[in-house]
Amino acid sequence: MPLLQKILVRLGSSVLMLVAVSIVAFIIISLPPGDFADSYAANKISSGETVTLAEIEAIRRQFGLDKPLYLQYFKWIGGMVYGDFGYSWGYSRPVTEVIGERLPMTILIATGTLLFTYITAIPLGIYSALRQYSVADYTFTILGYIGLATPNFLLALLLMFGATTWFGVSVGGLFSLEYQDAAWSMGRVWDLLSHIWVPIIVLGTAGTAFQLRIMRATLLEELNKMYVTAARATGLSEFRMILKYPVRLALNPIVSTLGWELTTVISGAPIIGLVLSLPDTGPMFINALRSQDMFLAGAMMLIYCILVMIGSFISDILLMIVDPRVRMGAST
């Protein structure tokens, strides 16, 4: 079955990609001068304890830091296969635990952002194309320009500023104080929903603007095609015709940019997490980078890449489902 074969090939190339990414990530975390043992020692000294050289050597041996780089890489990647991502001295806990409790929020925010992006961009894009040069179309175009030009963190800052000065509410975080450490309940879910829209809007604005432009442009192009006139000539009502044919075809480029869209969201998430002080992986990742907590940073880099790969994998599969030409490998 050719479809299955295609999916398998695609899966195989994803794995190769992952290996390549892990090498890059490892090189980056090995770049800074000094190693884990040095950081460990520096940390101890700064908290007033004394560390002997022998102790440092012991740690170095314990973590295999005296071995050549490629062996260290295999140890690192080998551990990951068993779910051992190394140790974070910043949190004094295993990396797996630190990431594990924050990752669900990141995934939730990323998924929410993508949903928000497509649910707003597609209908607005269709509307813009069908009412080309109308007031609404111009409004969306202008908003789109602004949305694309605003750095995410600036938007977050503005939202925070607006919320605190005009409404007297704080928009940071994902939970109110009383639900911060509470167990999951309906109340906590509701509390989460009342907070999560802020990062979703901040992260999704640029993508929405971009997808709206793509939707509008492709739909306008599709509307000029012969098959639209031919479909109209069958007596189909305008509304049904547009939904069934040109809109359906204009969705293809949208579907194919899904993976790319996820990449932008994942790229932008850490900064937003930091600005809005979200309990997700963002602030943790940036703090790890700043304090050179490299096992944590490296693992997180890898996880971000895995998320993106999963996204582009899903996007490719979706495109195969949506477009028979891709599925069957037709040239046109």
Binding site: Y227, T234, L236, A330
Partner: protein, 345 residues
């Protein structure tokens, strides 16, 4: 002209909006199509023939406006409707499309949606206009696909357009246009994009189907050779105006308008093989849309150009026989000079 028409176009005028100007691209076009007959509109590209055909189903795009005239159509209930009075996005015209007037387009490659199956796109027409259940509808489509000469129609039903060749797609297009048994079929250059052998097959198929279903046909082409094979009546268009019209035999044997004569001279004849006759192209080229002359549009290229007459307004209609008429000052002068005065307004 008698009253036994199926579709009558009266004084049709269509303009193109460019920036702030409005340029007429079809002007004062009159013709009638009789039931069961093939009427051909002939002209170079840009002569406005496709625009006329699209206006009959109200399929004109943005910026193209119908500015005057009537298109009278005798619908299935025996009533006469002026199609130009219908809302182009309304129910009335939608009930006429495909059910009473079918249409085939020039580019079989792009007139099907590439992501829907052929069957889906034909069945849709059945569901819109005929009251059949799912199984019957599918059966009817497969029957029709077989009728237009597609081998293994069962399989073709579930195939996508990109799995079809150009000829097969045009056959499928014909199936889609004819499946509801319309009284009139509009075919806009249906064979132009196909290679010659396939062209002949498609023409034969159309002729057979037309005879079998007793359907009228508006056939648009730039190819006089094709017209000779299929048409009963012909109108020659030049720059948005009909310059000569009549039965196909009269037009081909006794062309009167200098443009028609030029077109006929430009066709290669089998009889010429081996002889040293060169094809004679018409001198010059079609003027730019924006340089539309005030007089006869063909004046600038005409060998029979008469100073101070041909460049002063469009000529009146000259009737040569009850069915054959021509719009030309030179012809009118000939007719008036030699015979009795029979110039009819």
């Amino acid at each position: 002209m008698s009253d036994d028409y199926l579709l009558k176009v009266e004084d049709l005028t269509i303009s193109l909006d460019v920036d702030k100007a409005s340029i007429p691209i079809v002007e004062g076009v009159n013709f009638a199509i009789k039931p069961g007959r093939v009427f051909a509109l002939v002209g170079e590209s840009g002569s406005g023939k496709t625009i006329v055909s699209l206006s009959i189903l109200r399929l004109l795009g943005k910026g193209v406006r119908i500015t005057g005239g009537k298109i009278l159509f005798k619908d299935n209930n025996g009533k006469t409707v002026d199609i130009l009075k219908l809302n182009p996005k309304g129910k009335d015209i939608q009930a006429i499309r495909a059910a009473q007037i079918g249409m085939i387009f020039q580019e079989p490659m792009s007139s099907f949606s590439p992501v829907h199956t052929i069957g889906n796109q034909i069945e849709e027409v059945v569901n819109l206009h005929l009251d059949l259940d799912k199984k019957q509808a599918r059966q009817k489509c497969i029957e029709m696909l077989g009728k237009v000469g597609i081998v293994n129609p069962e399989r073709a039903f579930d195939q996508y357009p990109f799995e079809f060749s150009g000829g097969m797609r045009q056959r499928a297009m014909i199936a889609r246009a004819m499946i509801c048994n319309p009284k009139l079929l509009i075919a806009d250059e249906p064979t132009t994009a196909l290679d010659v052998t396939i062209q002949a097959q498609i023409l034969k198929l159309m002729k057979n189907l037309q005879n079998e279903l007793n359907m009228a046909n508006l056939f648009i082409s730039h190819n006089i050779g094709v017209i000779a094979q299929i048409a009963d009546d012909v109108a020659i268009m030049y720059m948005g105006k009909i310059v000569e019209q009549g039965p196909v035999r009269d037009i081909l044997r006794k062309p009167q308008h200098p443009y028609t004569k030029g077109l006929l001279r430009a066709i290669p004849h089998l009889a010429d093989i081996g002889r040293s006759r060169r094809l004679e192209p018409i001198a010059g080229s079609v003027p730019n849309l924006f340089e539309r002359p005030n007089g006869c549009p063909f004046a600038a290229r005409c060998s029979q150009f008469i100073e101070n007459i041909c460049d002063r307004g469009f000529p009146e209609k000259t009737k040569l026989s009850p069915d054959h008429s021509v719009f030309c000052y030179a012809v009118a002068q000939d007719v008036n000079g030699s015979q009795m005065q029979e110039v009819v307004a």
